[in-house]
Structure formats: structure tokens, C-alpha cells
């Protein structure tokens, strides 16, 4: 066991234990560590946005004599529109916040929707289509058939426009089975994820701090 002499490691270890103390019960140490985390995270992000985005992309360029006047006007106009987000804090003119929100939503939707249809719907539908190539070997063929049945059965479960009778009844029942298998897989992975995060902290406490792990 070789205890760390680095004060930062000690601070991180004490804060980790403070957060873990919540497992016992809510307490002031936990609350202190939680608030500190939120504060530092926000401060870090704001600093970065200021130094990496606003200063080089706006203030430096507007202040530079080499920037053309038309670019400067564009930059100032965009900065003013962006600043309208802060009107939320002034109730009388808070409606102005809709302008930047509308621009961002319009831009993001226009750029995202056609690409998402292509990347997430059409390509995924293509992947369920069985072709001769799907049967290159028996395993891939079997999985292709299972995926096709799974997709149809699961979609049929969410088909609420008509009463579940005839073919729809067993199909939607099969859909429930596929959904349950999906939930089971998600739960198993979630357990692994949560345990992993805890392991990460223990690796730090037992390794970097206490020196039990080399």
C-alpha cells in the first residue's frame, strides 16, 4: 500500500467518498460535493464557450481591421439575435426569445429531418429486407428471418387501430415476447453500465489513492 501524496488525488478521493455517502443517507458532505460538481462543470463550460467561441469567432473578428465590413455586420446581427435568449429574464420583452429559438429550430430541423429519414429509417428498413445474400451462411439467414419476424411482430403490437383478432392476435403476442427480450437485454446492459461506473471509482480509490492496485 502506497498512499498518494498528490493533493489533487486526495481532493478527488474525499469528494468521491462524499458522493458515495449518499448511499447511507442524505447528508451535508454529499450536498457540498454535488453543488461543487454542478458549479465547476458550469464554470468550466462557460469559460470554454467564452475563450474558444465568443472571443475568437466574434470579438476578435469584429475588432479586426482585416475583417470585411459585410462580415462584421453579419456577425453583429447574429450576436444580437443570440443575445435575445437573455430576454427571458425581462418579462416585458420575453417574447423576443422566440426569434432565436425559431431560427435554431428551423435550421436544425431542416438539416436533420431529410438526413434522419435516410440514415435512420430507410437504412434500417433496408436492413430488415431478406435477400439471397442474407443466406450466405445458415446463421446469417436465421438471424435475418428472426429480425424480420421481430420487426413485424413488434410493430403489430403497436397497431391500435383495430381489435386484436385473427392473425394480429398471435403476431402482437409474439411482439410482446420480442419487446420483453429487448427489455431484458437492456436491463442486463444497464446493470453492467452501473457496475462499471462504480468499478471506475473503486479503481481510482484503491489504485491512485491508496495504492492497492498497481
Amino acid at each position: 500500500m502506497t498512499l498518494s501524496t498528490d493533493p489533487w488525488i486526495w481532493i478527488a478521493a474525499i469528494l468521491t467518498l462524499a458522493i458515495f455517502s449518499f448511499l447511507y443517507r442524505e447528508n451535508p458532505f454529499y450536498r457540498f460535493a454535488e453543488h461543487l460538481y454542478v458549479g465547476i462543470a458550469n464554470g468550466y463550460a462557460i469559460t470554454f464557450y467564452w475563450h474558444r467561441i465568443l472571443v475568437p469567432s466574434l470579438f476578435d473578428r469584429v475588432g479586426s481591421s482585416s475583417t470585411p465590413l459585410s462580415t462584421k455586420i453579419w456577425l453583429i446581427a447574429i450576436a444580437i439575435i443570440g443575445a435575445l435568449y437573455f430576454t427571458r429574464f425581462i418579462p416585458r420583452i420575453s417574447w423576443l426569445v422566440r426569434i432565436p429559438i425559431a431560427i435554431v429550430l428551423g435550421y436544425a430541423s431542416g438539416a436533420s429531418i431529410p438526413r434522419a429519414v435516410s440514415g435512420e429509417i430507410i437504412r434500417q428498413m433496408k436492413a430488415t429486407i431478406i435477400t439471397r445474400a442474407s443466406f450466405a451462411n445458415w446463421q446469417s439467414g436465421l438471424w435475418a428471418v428472426i429480425i424480420l419476424i421481430g420487426v413485424i411482430a413488434t410493430i403489430s403490437y403497436f397497431f391500435f387501430s383495430t381489435e386484436r383478432r385473427g392473425l394480429l392476435k398471435p403476431l402482437s403476442y409474439a411482439g410482446i415476447i420480442f419487446i420483453m427480450i429487448g427489455f431484458g437485454a437492456s436491463f442486463g446492459y444497464t446493470v453492467m453500465a452501473r457496475i462499471s461506473l462504480f468499478i471506475g471509482r473503486l479503481q481510482f480509490l484503491l489504485g491512485d489513492w491508496l495504492g492497492f492496485i498497481k
Binding site: 464557450y49 436544425a108 438539416a111 435516410s118 435512420e120 429487448g182 453500465a193 461506473l197 462504480f198 468499478i199
Partner: protein, 298 residues
Amino acid sequence: MSSTHENIFLRLQRIDRRWIYLVLWLVIMVPLIFPFRIQPRASTPVAQLFNYIDTMPENKALVISVDFTPDTRAELQPMVIALLRHAFTIKRRVGILAMQVYGLGLAEEAIQQVTNEFNSRAQTHEDSVIYGEDFVFWGWTTPLLTVMLGMGERITRVFPVDYYGNPTESLPIMRDLKNYDDVGILVSIAASAMPRSWINFAQVQFGVNLSCGITAVSAADFYPYVNSGQFIGMLAGMKGAAEYEQLVEKRMKNKGMDWGLRNTGTEAMSSQTAAHLAIMVFIVVGNIAYFASRRRKK
């Protein structure tokens, strides 16, 4: 059923959850101090990604997008480290960026660790890993749409300066790393839906090859994209990282680089196994107690 059994089942259902935390703490901690050997075997998606990078043409670069924050460091940081080790071992150029401000520090930490591992053992200039020649850290900029679409045209326009403030045009690596055409594969290491954005903006528009390393929580959401061929393989959670670490270690040994480097993902697998067994026991015991007490009530 005797009243003793009834008491046990009732007590099991009312057990203070802090006892479960304590048991889990011990079950996870003990194998970390006294590990038992677990050698993860590479699953198909992990092997797919490894083989793709391993056989990537020399003139193509690996781009790693660090799209996660410190809260998921335990799962995802080993992936970044393993990918960097792999690329440097087979002498492929690497470009690194972060789509999250908080990912910058994590990316820098991984770069420093891996470059130190290689440069401290380098005998010649050829063996060294040199910034600006073998790899570049572009840093972070926003918004993501501009980054993902802009990199398809000219990377230096999206990142005029790198993370350290050097003009990217002045870096030798950027002469042959102009846009996605020079990228062999882009791997998004993420704890969010960011890999999907890479598909929609970088792949749909420019056809860049993609893969992802994701937290175990989101693994089930991303398997369909591996199945459809939109991702070339995938690393899912700490297990995926451990599997990749094993493949990279084997590759390094084959190249005479048996350095005995620490693999934090592999190191955690004995604790993972013990914790999963414990949780399975909890689930079984909890269900037995529930059904037994319900039968008793009837």
C-alpha cells in the same frame, strides 16, 4: 411452511437496501485487490472494428471523436486508450476531436498517457509518436452540425487552430488529412446519441465509415446500426473495451511490443463477473421470497 421460513422471506423483502450496497461494495472491491484471471474473448462487433482498423490503408487516418463526459469515464476512457495504442502500433495517423467540452480533458489525458507509453520506449525517431505528424488533437468547437458537415469539406476550416492553439494549416499531418476522404474510419466514443448524429450528418452526406464505442446502457439501441452495416463493429461498455484491449495487446506482442501495459477494462472484468453473479443471486432470492410470501398469504 413454518413461521421461521415466513419470517425469513418477509425479512428478505424488507431488507434495508444499504446491506445490498455493502455486499455489492465488497463483491466488487475484493476481486479488484485479489483478481482472478478473466480473459475476455472478442465478440463479433469488436473483432469487426479491430480488423477494419488493422487492415486500413496506410494513407487513411483514424479519427476518434471523444463524445463523452467524465461521469462515464470508467467505461469509455479505456476504449480511447486502446484505439490510440492500436493506431500507433500499426503506424496509422490519428485525428482526435471532442464534441463535448468536458471530453477535452479526457481526450488530452488519454493522448498524454499513450504518447508517453510509446515515446518513453522509443529507440529511434521512427518509433516515436510525434504531435503534428502522427496525430493531431483538433479540440472542440460548436455547433455539432457545423463540425460534422464542415469536416466533409475542409477540416482546417472547422478547426483553424488545434487544441494547443497551433494553426492547423501549419501541421504536416493536415497536408494529407483534408476531409472525410482521407479518413479510414471515424469512431465516436459516446455516452449519448451522438453516434447517430455522425450517421445522419457525416455518413449520409459524405459516406464516411463509422463505428462507435458506447456505454453499456445504450448498447441495445445501437446494435441495429451494426446489423445494418452503418457501423463497422461496435464497442459496448467496459466489456467491449476489455475485448478490444486484449486484441490490441496481442497485436502489440506480435510486433515485439510486450510492454505489460495496464488495461483497466480487462482489470475490471473479475469484479464485473462477481457483481453480475451477486445480482443474479439477489434477483433469484428476491423472487423466491416474493412468491413464497404471496403463496403464504393466499
